[in-house]
């Protein structure tokens, strides 16, 4: 594995929008605020930003052409990618590659969406919870059988995992409970209400075996980061989070093909990222894993090598994911409790942990290596990023 990019680039600024119910802001506004906060956090003059990458185009509001206009940016390089919730790490990686290729020097990466506001405008909006353009919706081989929404694919996976490995509902619940406990330490998290195993097990079923607390929350949320060279990072007051590795694995034959819904592309994504960083899963101090559903966390714990295949349930139930556990995970509350910005806030929290920004109540002690993941694109895309406190 070619390791020439490891440690050459860094994230030097992070920002987020208000999270939760923000009815007076659309996705473009949320992203604008997050971007402003990231630029200010970095200490870089906004006119020095010469690259811009956003997640698109399924939510055209975040398109690079529109946010660039809002932020008053004329840049050398900009684009919008479409790997769903895997896009954010794709975009951090493209930023590094574009800088390496001499296309630009300092790249703003961001994403926001207004899922709470959009899904609460009226009853039909709440029922369908559209986050994509309805004209792009599948019109055969799904809806005619009542197959709607995102939970079903993870329910199919959970069912198979339960049957193959004996995974239990309580083990999935331990993931939701751990992240909720972390959200209670995060004053900006949307949902901070305590969650007990009884609450979890008594909650309404969505698509069995998944129930309410297995699903990520609808929130208005945005995040942004600034990526630049190590040389430039070292000249800034803000301490950098070093980009040590990234990797991708996209099972484009689909979630329903072969064993993909149990053995995901995360395995390849992780192996590539570990090789680039020259580390392994045992070296990781904290993880920010894409948690659209509890089941997806469980699969990634296995596929990224934090435990053996089939052991994700017992690993999560052991308390491993809690602050103080062997792999503190989603330390801001994640998409299950903090807010869901398609993995953007995972990157933001990864940077905070790698920079050791927090006090002892939230900081993973002496965090050296933080693993961040993304997932999406109708379940096919996986992305992994390894951030370091040092090069």
């Amino acid at each position: 594995m070619d390791r020439k990019l490891t440690g050459k680039y860094a994230i030097v600024g992070v920002g987020q929008s208000p999270l939760g119910k923000v009815p007076d802001m659309g996705p473009l506004d949320l992203l604008a605020v997050a971007a402003k906060n990231a630029i200010e956090d970095s200490g870089i003059d906004k006119n020095d930003i010469d690259g811009l990458i956003t997640r698109g185009p399924d939510d055209i509001n975040n398109h690079h052409q529109r946010i660039g206009q809002v932020l008053g940016l004329d840049v050398n390089f900009s684009t919008s990618t479409d790997n769903g919730g895997a896009s954010q790490i794709v975009n951090v990686a493209i930023a590094c590659m574009a800088i390496e290729a001499g296309m630009c020097n300092t790249v703003l990466v961001g994403y926001a969406r207004d899922s709470w506001s959009r899904s609460h405008r009226n009853r039909s909006a709440n029922m369908m919870v559209q986050t994509t353009d309805p004209s792009l919706a599948r019109r055969e081989f799904g809806p005619e059988f009542g197959m709607f929404g995102a939970p079903v694919n993870y329910a199919l996976s959970a069912r198979l995992h339960m049957q193959q490995y004996g995974t239990t509902k309580e083990q999935l619940g331990s993931i939701a409970l751990a992240f909720r406990e972390h959200a209670q330490r995060n004053p900006l998290a949307f949902i901070q209400k305590p969650l007990t195993m009884e609450d979890y097990l008594d909650a309404k079923t969505i698509v069995d075996p998944l129930s309410f607390y297995d699903c990520s929350i609808f929130a208005d949320a945005g995040g942004a980061v600034v990526v630049t060279t190590l040389e430039r990072a070292e000249a800034l007051a803000q301490s950098p989070a070093h980009i040590l590795g990234f990797g991708f694995g996209n099972n484009l034959r689909g979630w329903h093909y072969g064993d993909h819904m149990v053995n995901t592309g995360a395995k390849r994504a992780g192996e590539t990222a570990y090789a680039m960083a020259g580390v392994g899963p045992k070296d990781i101090d904290a993880a920010q894993l894409y948690d659209c559903f509890t089941q997806m966390v469980l699969l990634q714990l296995e596929d990224y090598g934090f435990c053996e295949k089939g052991e994700g349930g017992p690993f999560a139930a052991s308390g491993a994911l809690r602050l103080g556990g062997v792999l503190p995970t989603n330390t801001s509350g994640g998409q299950l409790s903090e807010a869901h910005a398609e993995g953007m806030l995972q990157v933001v929290e990864g940077v905070h942990q790698a920079r050791r920004d927090y006090g002892p109540d939230r900081q993973v002690k002496d965090a050296e290596l933080v693993f961040v993941s993304g997932h999406g694109g109708a379940t096919t895309c996986q992305s992994a990023l390894i951030l370091g406190n040092h090069r």
């Binding site: 055969e140 939970p151 198979l160 049957q163 998944l210």
Partner: protein, 136 residues
């Protein structure tokens, strides 16, 4: 026939033959002339070997439930009376997997690996759905 208000499949150019078959209570799949692989969803190209040569063949309609989920949440008012209903991935004995409903059995009694066989549901004068019921 009462008004049918659930989504009716909208065929695309490459899936027209499939839905025409279903209308005639036949499950038709493309089999590659070069490598013999059956494929689904329909496509002009074999995803195994990229051959453009294929033959449309009726398949057995027999398979197993690869995995399934049971809808308790309502996403479309048209399905209100069906709750809870089962959406499964059916693995045909010819290989391909199809999304469909598992009918004629309580959701609690369905299991991964359960043998099933196709059954047809004429939803309107012009449209038919393929569903799966326990075999035997």
């Amino acid at each position: 026939m009462t008004t049918y208000n659930k989504p009716i499949p909208v065929p695309s150019p490459s899936t027209e033959f499939f839905w025409t078959g279903v209308k005639e209570h036949q499950l038709l799949l493309q089999q590659c002339d070069k490598c013999s692989a059956y494929r689904f969803p329909p496509s002009p190209i074999c995803p195994e070997c990229l051959s453009s040569d294929y033959t449309v063949k009726p398949v057995s309609g027999k398979g197993t439930v690869f995995t399934f989920g049971v809808y308790h949440r309502l996403y479309s008012p048209a399905f209100e009376e069906d709750l809870p209903y089962t959406v499964g991935m059916i693995e045909l004995e010819e290989g391909p997997r199809l999304v469909s409903n598992v009918v004629g059995i309580a959701p609690d009694d369905v299991y991964c690996g359960m043998p099933v066989v196709v059954t047809y549901d004429d939803i309107t004068d012009d449209a038919t759905l393929y569903k799966f019921k326990p075999a035997g």
